[in-house]
Every structure is written in structure tokens, then in C-alpha cells.
Amino acid sequence: MTVRMDTARTRTGVTRVVGAVAGPVGRSLKNFLKLALATTAGRIGLFIVAIHLVMALVGPWLAPYSATAFNFDEAGKVQQASLDGSDVKHLAANLVPEPGYMALDVSGGKMYWTDSFANKVQRANLDGSAVEDLVSGLSSPEEIALDVAGGKMYWTDSGTDKVQRANLDGSAVEDLVTSGLILPRGIALDVAGGKMYWTDSLTKKVQRANLDGSAVEDLVSGLRQPEGMALDVAGGKMYWTDSLTKKVQRANLDGSAVEDLVSGLKSPLGIALDVAGGKMYWTDSGTDKVQRANLDGSAAEDLVTSGLTLPRGIALDVAGGKMYWTDEAGLEQLLDPSGQFLLGTDQFGRDLLSRMMSGARSLITMAVAGAALGLALGTVVGMSSGYKGGIVDAVVMRVMDGVMSFPSLLLALLVLTTLGSKAAPVEWLETLWQELLIVVTIGIVSMPGVSRVMRSVTLSLKEMEFVQSARLRGETAGYIVFREILPNVIPVLGVEASVRLSYSILLVASLGFLGLGVQPPSPDWGMMISESRGFLVSAPLLALVPSAAIVSLVVGGNLLGDGLRQARGLPQKGEGL
């Protein structure tokens, strides 16, 4: 007896609440499925929409690759060769994606390099073994220079715009120069003179300072885009490359007597000097070559011309007769579909399939939320206005006409550009602010259409005798509208929902296309189409795939709507209307 009492009590508790909610929801879901599956159009539409919904829910986890990560054909490498370019060896391959400039400590048997992708400073033995991270968590380290005697390494960081140094083992990191820099890049040391020299490719200057960062002075200005640099202290010269003028240049150490040494290059980056041999060596990431010339620029020759993708840093071991250089990994850009990338890759080497699958989420979420908001607003406004009638109805509907007369995209642009540039009113909304604005805009834009339909249905339903009979019971207007009439407009609402959903999908996609959707690099179908415009001829899939995704979603939604409409049109057994 007690046991039965207990079960009874449980049932009145949680179970009852769950049952009360799950019952109607399950029933309407079942009813919906029954209707959707009744016709061919409905079946096809449901299938397409279901695929999209699955994508929206678990797309990012199902995707074979990350939607935002760049894919590389091979990892970056550090290579070695004889000074004449022969005998090329891989030293540290598959270690780092984007090794930058490098420097050698021949006596310590170590080579040092920065990695501007992993944002680290690393070193290894000269044969490439024992790779170790020295400093990590940097923003975008560029060139590195060593003061072996002083046990220090110096580097520039173009992300934090600093010149920094640390001990050779990576300890005791300190900032040397922190102001006046925009994009510091090359760096070279005159240890004996107590000076460091660096280039800044945005202020377009060559500057120097004491080794502790004090006494910053401009040496050369008015360059175009100086990159790596090297010093011939004995000769009193400094050398640098300029990737925009495509030259190797030099000047006296005080910045005077700037002269062009080699021109007609493509994108020279790293530079290293063999003062004793009277040669300078540089990398050209535009032509993918390692080249050298006499210090005065004469007798330029190619040393390494093949097997390179983006050579950057270069360092010399003159005594050992070897040169070392770094070579960046290549992006898998604009590839055709293959077994690895089923739909190919985009211009940043991102997997198109993964981006498409992950892109479903933002678009579908925003479209569904916007359409739902529009339906809710439109239903309440339309039904209330239609039921109330008279002056209220006339005024409300004229306002709706007014809203409707705005082209929806224009209104969305207006809202997003005025409100989207402002900060969210509360901090926790910040991440959702843009999305929220889009949803609200779609809601407002689709409200008038919905309210018109709902109003007309209500107008005919309110003359029905069951509504009059409810009035005779003395029911309130709110009760009649939402309890008596609302259940009867649900079929119409369902059809309207499929139409509104299509519109809002197109609207979200258009906003994405115009760059007002989610922010890159998050994938978004509209944005993907817009970004791929430049590659329409060379890589048509890039635009076709997201377009097809949008089209199939809209067509699927419409088919589903048509199917429901058809199924509704058939006389239903055991159910009126």
C-alpha cells in the first residue's frame, strides 16, 4: 500500500510535469512527421532539411578538418647546403609550420629560429637534432640575432611591436624597445659597438639603439618595406632587403650613403654576409630561391632554385663552408577535390567541406531564430489586430504596411550598421551582439507579412460560430484569440513558417555576403561566396558549394512547406477543418 502511495506521489511530481510537456510536444511532432511524410515533396524536403539540421547541430564535430585551420602541404623546414648551393640537406623538417628568420651559434653548435605561426623561438643542434622551445607565447616573432659572447639573443616581434631579448636558453625575457615601432622585422647586432640595428617595414625606417634599448635613433627613413638585415661592422656598412622595391640595399652604419646593390628581385627577405669571402647571401620568397652576390651587388647568382616554397631566414657558417636557411610550409591553396579534401580547399588552404558543414550552424540558427521571432510577433500582432478590428486594426495594419515598404535587406543593413558598430549594452552580450541584431532585424522585417496572413485568417475565423459561442460564454478577447482561434491557425502558421524560413535564410546569407554576418574566420556561407568571388574562374567550386548549400536549404524548406500544405489540403480522417 505504501509503495503504491509513493509511486502515486512521484507521478504527481516530476513525471507529471515532464508528461505534460512531452505529451503535446511528442504528439505535435508525430503529427508533423505524419503530415511531412504524406507526400513526395514533403519527404524530399524533410530529408534535405534534416541533413541541414544535423549539420547545424553537430557539423563542426562531423567535419573532417577544422573549419578555420589552414592546411599545409608539408611542414616548414630548416635546410643546409654548401656555400655554393650544392649538397642540400633537410635538417629539421616536419617540425614547425612557419619557421622565420634564423641565426647560428657555430661555436655552441646550435641554430636558432623564430616561428611566426607557432609564435615561438626555437633552437636545435646544427644537424637538426634536439629541437627545443626557448620562448613561447610571443605574438609574431620575426628576425633573431645572437650575442653569443654575452649569452643573449635578440629578436623583433611584429605582433607586439617590440624588440626583445633573452638569455640563450630562453630565460629572462626582457623588452628593449617598446614604443615607436609598428612592424619591426629585421635585426642585427654590433656587439662590439654596443648597438643593435633593426628595420621596421611599416614605419619604413632603419633604426638603431644601444643593446639595452636606450638611445633609439633613426638611421634611414623613406624606404618601402625593409625586411631582414645584416651588418658588416668592419666595413662600416649595414645591408638590408626591401620586399616592395625588390632590392638589396646598403648604407653606412650612421645611415648615410644609401645605395642599391641588387634590384629586380621578387621578394627578398633574409640576408646574411660573408665579409671575408666578400659575398652576401639572401633568400627570395617570391622566386623561391637562395641567391648570392658580391658585397657591391655584382655577380649575382642563384644557389638553390628547387624544392623551396617560401624561404625566409638565412645564416652562414663560413668556417664550416655551410649555409643554413629556413623554408616555410606551403598552404594547400585552391586545391581541386581529392581524396584528402573531398571538395578541395579555399584560398587559405582551408577544407571547403569542413567550412561548409560548420557554416550551417550560424546561418541556420540565425535564420530559424529570426523567422521564429517574426512568426511570434506577427502572429500576436496580426491576430490581436484582426480580432479587435475597427480603428485599432486600421492603424496597426497601416504601421505594418509602413514597415513592409522598407526593402528588407536595406532595413537590415541600416540596423546593423548603426547598432552593430556600438558596443553591446551588457558585457555578456558582447559575443552574441551581432547575431542578436541580425535575429531581431529579421524578426522585425518578417513580422508584417506574417501579421497580414494571420490577420486575414483571424478575420474569417472570428465570424465562425465557435468563436461567437465563446463570446456568449463571456470569454475575454485574449482567451478567445489564443485559446480558441490560435489552434485553428496552426496549419496556416506552419506553411507560413516554411516561407518565412526561406526568406530569412536568404537574408542571413545576403548579410554574410555583404560582410555583416559572423566575423571571419568563422565560416559563413554568405561570406564564403563573397570571399570566393575572386576565384570564380579558377576555383568555381569555392562559390558553388556554399551557394548549393543555401539553395538546397531553401528548396528543401519550400518542398517541406509544400508537402505540409498538400497533406493539409487532403481531407483528414477524424479531424475537422
Binding site: 465557435f466 459561442s469 465563446a470 463570446r471 460564454r473 487532403l570 477524424g574 477543418l577
Partner: protein, 693 residues
Amino acid sequence: MSRQLQEDTPLLQVERLGVTFYTPRGVVRAVREASLVVRRGELVGLAGESGCGKSTTAFAIAGYLPGTARVDGSIRFEDRDITDLSASELRHLRGNRIAMVYQDPATSLNPTMRVGPQIEEVLREHLGMDSGQARHRTAKLFESVGLAEPDLIGQRYPHQLSGGMQQRVVIAMALACDPDLLIMDEPTTGLDVTTQATILDLVADLKQRVNAGILYVSHNLGVIARVADRVVVMYAGQTVEQAPVGQLFKSPKHPYTTGLLDCVPQPPTDSGTVTRLRSIPGTVYSADEVGTEGCLFAPRCPMVQESCRVESPQMLDAGDDRQSRCFFWSDVRPEIWGEAEPRKKDTIQTAETVLSATGLRRFYGSWQRKYLLFGPRVRPPVRAVTDVDFNVGSGRTLGIVGESGSGKTTIAKVVVGLVPRDRGELRLRDEDLAPLVGARTREQQAAVRMVFQNPTASLNPRLPIRHAILRSLRKFARLNKSESRERAEELLEAVGLDPAYLDRHPGQLSGGEQQRFALAGAFAGNADIIAADEAVSALDVSVQAQVLNLLQRHQQEAGTSYVFITHDLGVARYVSDDIMVLYAGHVAESGPTECVLTAPSHPYTEALLSAVPVPDPDATPTRIRLPGAVPSLRRRFEGCFFAGRCPRKVGDICDTTPPPGRKGPDSPDHVIYCHIPVDELMAMQRERVREAT
């Protein structure tokens, strides 16, 4: 084809016709086994309740069935089987030999074409006439269907014609090619009684003039009795009885036919007693049921035997050129549905007044100006109800009778407060009733309830039917959840419904069940007065009788008063203690039922009475026919509201002075609004009856 053959073979011979529709929701056997014969020059009436396959049979004969239908059996037109014809042969046959007239004339005519050219088109297409000949012939056709000024009529658009004139045009179109077979599918059902009478006259007249067979489909036995030579009765897709019209109505040989006749309210006998209506229990055998084990009428038949449930009867010969689908046709007597007992009616004569209305007025719309808000007033409001007075005594029924547009429904809505009154006073006992229901007290709302015409529309199709009744009980009887459920079950039992129905949706109930449920809802608040607006008009006769008897029983038990609105005089006569005859928003006559419906009466009442078709082929049609149509309600009547159509118009006084209310001779409550003094009216009407007999 020789003349001889033509006379021997019937014009149309339908043998064991079956029509099955294959729909996505299942198989519908609309017609199971229909056999009938139409001879040249004969009018065959096809009768039965709705859903019995009458119209489908007619459509099958005309070859108008959709592709989803399968037709079994044979339909022989002269010597050819229509079911075997190709589409083009069928088209030729339909155009030249078989013509059809549908129920709704408004949809049979193209609303964007003048009616004359619509007929000329038919003539040119099928008879190859040139336009001059066609116009001439059209005018003659219009004349032959009784349209005055045939040349002018042809220039009008359908919406410029009244319903009766539209139906005449449609009939003219059907006669255009001189058809051999004319199929008329409920041609008068959408029309008012007085208009129906004139169309029936036309049909009866056509029968004499045209050498064609006519198949006339109608659910109204009175109409069938008026026009048919022979009658075929259908039930559940089967023809169940076939007999000459006189014999069928006098001594039906199938229990269903007998039952149908018992369901129709009959005029009182000479002694003044009204026979109690007997109803057929149950509902029509559903067309969704595929099996036909045994007689389909067995579940409702009062004389059913074991053998009826096992074996299906065929059409059996019942002598005198008649057939019956009943094994026991020879035992069929009128008494099988119960003795013809007089209706018990102990009317309280000295009743206290429950509801009184004085000077009730309701106009729809307001004056419209030429330029929206400015300019002269160009369009007056519709004067739906103009200064109507009436009283309803407790436990009594006031019948309000009139044609469509006479203001009956408006009165009901004003009484219950769905529509505000413009003027006048409405009192429930001593209390004044507010114009709108929302402004009335809870007690007043409970006291005045309404039953609507369309039972399907009066229940919310998306909610279980318990919803409405439980809300009423909680609001008016202030019951809690379980009490109101209990009470609702009692109410359902009282109207003869299974209490388990409470959880069903309206779509799962038949029309009769829905209307009985609506009655239960109206009874829920112990109402003092119930306004029933055409409450039985949408129901089949067998169900109509159930509902009428139910209303009457409730009145006797609870003493509720009714305002019973109907266009059917027979029904009004059966249920009402008092009758008010309305015409164009004005009261023509009011008083106790027997006084109003016997001489002396208002000329309009007189015309109305003579127009009602009675299910008795021997009844002498007293021919008073009203010319024209109901006048525009936007105009104020200078004189008598009925002057424009009155057959007894006395002179200018009718056009200039509103008629006085004259007291009838038998009862002080009997008032006739007419310029003719009461005794003169009585004399005139006695004279007319004598002439007719």
C-alpha cells in the same frame, strides 16, 4: 433507330451501378448498387438523405466523375453504355443529349459574361447556329423558362439577377440543345421557399412541354412529391425502393422510406392535433465501410430479422411496377416506427413573460459618403431589423419564420448580444439586457444562450468537444473540475450521447451528434431562454426529428423558453407555441401558432404557406406565387413593406401608409399588419381555398 425501338427501350437504364473513389485516405464507396430507369416524358425523383449517393449517381450518369473513381455496372442511355464511351463521344452526348442543372446557380454561370452570350455560345458550339439565330433562340428559351423581357435579361450579368432568375437561366441553358435527358441536382435547395415554388412550377410545366426524361435529385420529400412521376429512394449508396409517386407516399414498402416520411413534420389533422415526430435511430451506414454483409439498413431497422444481418437483399419486385430492397416488404406498415401518437403539449397559457423586446432595431453599416468623409450621403445602411416587438413566455417557444434576408438571424444575435441593437428595449424578466454580451452580468449570460445553424462550425475543430461544455459549466454553474466533468457527462447522457464522446474532436462526430452536443452545451447553464438559429436546417430529416424531440423534451422538463428561428414552416409549426412572420426586417404577422397558420393571415403568410411543398402528392397546390424578389433593405419603406410583391394589394394606400396592426378574431395576441381588415382577409382566403378544391 426506329420509332418502335425508342418506345420499347427506356431512355436511361442504370443497372447495378457502383462508384468507388480511391482517395489517399482510403476507399470511399459512394454508390454501392443503384438501379433505376428513366423513360421519355417522365420525371423520376431521386430521394434520400445526404451521403446516400444521390448526387454521385447523377454525376455518373452525366459522365462527370473524376479519374479517381471506378464505375461498375452499366449506364445505358438508349442503346449505348455511357461507361464505355470515349471522352469526345461523351462530350458530344453531354452537349446535345444530356443536360445537367446544378444546385448552386451562381457557380454554374460565368460571372464575367452576360447571361445571353453564355447560352448563345452553347447554341453555336453544339447546334452550329450563327449569332443571329442563336440570339433569337436564346430569347425564346428565356421566355420558355418564364423570364420576363427576355431581350433585356440576356444583357445582364449573373450577379444582377436574383437566385431564382439565375436558376431559370441555368435551366434555359440546359434546355438549349433540346436534351433527351435532363438531370437536375437539387436545383431549388439554395432558394427561398417562395422562389422554390415558382421553380417547381416551371419544372412541372417543363415536364408537360418537353419530350425528355428528367432525373430530379432532392433530399426534400415535399419537393419530390410535388414534381415527380416516379420516385427512387436511395440509402447508403443503394437504391432501396422504387415506386410511382402516389403509391410511395401512401404505402411505402421499405422501412427506410416509411421512417423518412415519419420524420417530416406533417400539417395538423383536421382535429388540430399534431403528430409526434418519430426519428430513425443511428446514423447513415458510412461510405468508408467496405463490407456489405447483410442489409445495410439492418442496424437502424425496427423490423430487422436475423436473416437481414446475414444476407443482402436485392431489389425485389413488390407489385404494381414497384420494387423494394427489403425481404419483408409486404410487412412494412407506417406503424413500424411507432404509433402515430399526438404530440404531448401542455402549454402554459398564462405564462409569465421571460423575454420582452420592444422597438428592436438593428441597421448594418452607416451612411456612406461619396468622397470617403465628404460629399453627399450616397449609400444608406442595411435596415436588417426595423422596430420589432415580441414577448416570449416562460416554457414557450416563439418561432420566427421568414425567408433569407428577413432579419431572423439578426434578431437572434441581438437577443443574445452578439450584435448590438441600435434602438429598442430588451428585458429579461425585470432586468434590462445590455446590448452586447460582454456588458451583461454572468447570470444574464447564463440565462440567454444560443444554438447555431451549423453544428460543425459551432464547435472548435481543433479542441476536444469537452472544452466548450466544461468552460460553460465552470463559468455559469461555478463547478470545479471534477464536478463539471460529472455534470457534462450527465448532460451528454440527457441528449443521448455516450459520455466518452467528451474526449473526441468534433470531426469524429456526425452532424446530428454535433448538434445534440451543441444543445447539451446550451442546456449547461440552466438557461432561461435559448435562441436556436436554424438549429435543424443543416441536418437530415431523420436527425432533425431527433433534435426537435430533444428540444421539446428539455422544454417540458426544465421549462426553458426558445426563440426558434427557421425558414421551414413545417418545423416552425411543429415546435412553436407562437409564431412571428418576418418580411424584410418587419413583422408581418404574429400570434399563437394555430391562429397565424390558419385564415385569416397576412397575405405574405398566405403566400408562404401555399409555397411550402408538402410530402403528399395528392395535396392540391394552392397557387399563390410572389413575383419579383425581396426588396432592397437599404431603402426605407414609405408604405407597406410587402406592397411591392403583394398579390392582394388594395391601392395607393399600400404604397404611402405603413399598415396598421389589426387584431385577429381568435386571440388578442394575434396581430396582422395589413391595410385589409381582418374579416375581409378571412373572406378572401376562404374563397381562394374553395376555388382550389
